[in-house]
């Protein structure tokens, strides 16, 4: 990995590092929400709300937060892939 970063310019290397860190944080934060509610995914959390097994609020906000974190992570990963492609061209 150090050799990979030696071949690309500073700005691109910084962007790749930040996107990788952001993607990791987004994944971990989503996992923490799901783990706190003992569910595997967002759909299961919404089902718990609908079944009356979890309070409407703030559980619905946690459900939305998990979806937002997942969508943002997808966007970060796409941006990361684009940056890596650019790095491989240099």
């Amino acid at each position: 990995m150090p050799e990979f970063f030696e071949s690309i310019d500073f700005e691109l290397a910084t962007a790749i590092e930040e996107l990788a860190r952001l993607s990791y944080e987004l994944r971990e934060n989503r996992n923490a929400i799901l783990a706190a509610h003992d569910v595997a995914d967002e759909a299961a959390l919404l089902a718990r709300i609908e079944a009356g097994e979890a309070d409407e609020h703030p559980t619905y906000e946690y459900y939305l937060a998990a979806r937002i974190l997942a969508d943002t992570r997808d966007a970060a990963r796409a941006a990361l892939a684009e940056s890596l492609q650019e790095a491989n061209r240099t």
Partner: protein, 121 residues
């Protein structure tokens, strides 16, 4: 990168004089502070999945799309008013453009922070 980033930019352009400082972006929530003292937490996952909760002084209210209150005319969206009642949503429409819903809510909150004038007593 995310819907919140785009929404924040749109709102800052649409309400240059109505915001009390820049919109704060966190990973899962966008915080909008209005010039009249309202603090609005926005969680917009999709045009039909959102929670908009705000504080004004001691009063807390919110509009959201949790699919629980089937008896209301606006199911699934509904309004939790400052008195703790759950009533039909007087402002937003699921499926509408998020920026349109948010702009409409902000205009309503600038006019009446509790939306009390929009619901039956």
């Amino acid at each position: 990168m995310s819907l919140h980033i785009e929404l924040g930019a749109t709102l800052e352009q649409a309400f240059p004089d109505a915001l009390d400082g820049p919109i704060e972006q966190k990973q899962d929530v966008m915080i909008v502070r209005l010039s009249n003292g309202v603090t609005l937490d926005v969680r917009y996952a999709a045009p039909d999945a959102y929670s908009l909760r705000w504080r004004h002084g001691e009063a807390e209210s919110g509009i959201d799309t949790a699919p629980l209150h089937r008896g209301l005319a606006t199911f699934p969206n509904h309004f939790h008013d400052a008195a703790g009642r759950v009533v039909a949503d007087p402002v937003t429409q699921p499926g509408a453009a998020p920026e349109a819903n948010l702009a409409q809510l902000i205009r309503a909150l600038l006019d009446d922070p509790t939306l009390g004038s929009r619901v039956a007593p």
